[in-house]
């Protein structure tokens, strides 16, 4: 059974790595600062919304890009949404791919779009796993009697 100190250390190291590797940016910290005693699960709630929304958008994008005649406006609209929501939660790497993705939409280059779609799916899966691990570590710490670090 890990001690509170060990868990705190683990959480701190993990958190640092997420920022260092650009999975998350400053916006995620802004989210954490909005949580308080009356809204303790705010971050988890927002991130869950992001997961649901992204799953839906990625499905839509896959469908749209596999049409014989790709509707680039529609594709762009979906990417715009994904870019917005990833930006709102601080998922920087996902957001960055969306920017490149939109450029390919504008130029109406299907191969470019398909490539970006694959990249954004990869990045999304990565950040999703990272965030789920982060929340798990936080819960472990709290369950062991520790308190979450100051943001």
């Amino acid at each position: 059974m890990e001690s509170v100190n060990q868990l705190q250390r683990k959480l701190a190291d993990y958190t640092s790595s997420l920022y260092n590797e650009n999975f998350l940016d400053e916006q995620f910290i802004q989210l954490q600062q909005l949580a308080d005693e009356s809204n303790p699960d705010f971050v988890v709630e927002v991130v869950s919304l992001f997961f649901e929304d992204s799953d839906r958008l990625l499905n839509e994008l896959t469908k749209a890009l596999n049409q014989p005649n790709v509707d680039f406006k529609k594709v762009d609209a979906h990417v715009h949404q994904l870019k917005g929501s990833s930006s709102s939660i601080g998922a920087l790497r996902v957001q960055k791919i969306c920017i490149a993705f939109r450029n390919y939409c504008e130029q109406q280059i299907v191969e470019g779009c398909l490539k970006c779609l694959q990249q954004v799916k990869n990045e999304y899966t990565l950040v999703k796993n990272k965030l789920e691990t982060l929340f798990k570590l936080e819960k472990q710490l709290v369950d062991a009697g520790g308190s979450l670090p100051v943001v």
Partner: protein
């Protein structure tokens, strides 16, 4: 003064087609002790306001007050720019063309930094244009705009009655990045105290008004003690 805090609380109408952004903006304003209503489109916003199309002939359009025919008193409208159907700009125009609603401050948000878009909105009467993601520091800038809409309320001492283009917010405590005068009306301090007491978290208000505070704790689970 025996004032009910809710009467003095600002009510914000937030318009955004993104569920995540609605949740965020709601939290930002609730953290700043505002009441928030969120809607997902411009047309729903107008509906909420009780907007009627032929609304141009009011002789002396009042500032937002309990006595006009607006259904709900709104002190600020904050809207996303890019929305399907009615854009934030379209909504802004409708508001500013309306005699009943033109005095409500409108703020536009956008994820895209397009100078011509920003200028257009400001020229049309938007008070501020925020780039997303919106932060607490942005929201803090809005209190003076919201105060203007309380100007005709009979609760307010004369001091608060509209000063033209007042730049220095009277309500806020001195934020760390600006030097502001600190005149505070009794009413205002009491209002903040009432809200602080009901929220039971003075740290939170301090962190809002002083920017990011390193002392702020995040006591999410501290009430849980497990053996």
């Amino acid at each position: 003064m025996g004032m009910v805090a809710a009467e003095q609380q600002f009510h914000v109408l937030a318009v955004d087609d993104s569920l995540i952004d609605r949740k965020l903006i709601e939290r930002l304003f609730r953290t700043s002790a505002c009441q928030v209503t969120t809607v997902d489109s411009g047309s729903k916003a107008l509906e909420f306001l009780g907007f009627q199309e032929n609304d141009h002939n009011h002789p002396n359009p009042p500032c937002v007050s309990p006595h006009n025919h607006q259904e709900v008193e709104i002190n600020l409208i904050i809207t996303d720019y890019c929305m399907p159907g009615m854009t934030g700009y379209d909504l802004l125009k409708k508001i500013k063309e309306s005699s009943s609603f033109r005095n409500i401050p409108v703020v536009i948000m956008s994820s895209e930094n397009v100078p011509s878009r920003i200028n257009r909105c400001l020229e049309e009467g938007a008070e501020e244009f925020f780039l997303k993601p919106v932060r607490l520091s942005d929201v803090n800038k809005l209190k003076p705009h919201m105060m203007k809409t309380k100007c005709k309320s009979f609760h307010e001492p004369e001091k608060i009655v509209t000063k033209e283009n007042q730049e220095s917010p009277e309500i806020e405590k001195v934020p760390s990045e600006q030097s502001q005068p600190q005149p505070k009306t009794e009413l205002d301090t009491e209002q903040i105290q009432q809200i602080q007491q009901s929220q039971g978290n003075n740290n939170k208000r301090k962190s809002i008004e002083e920017g990011l505070s390193p002392e702020r704790t995040r006591p999410r689970y501290s009430s849980l003690t497990t053996v």
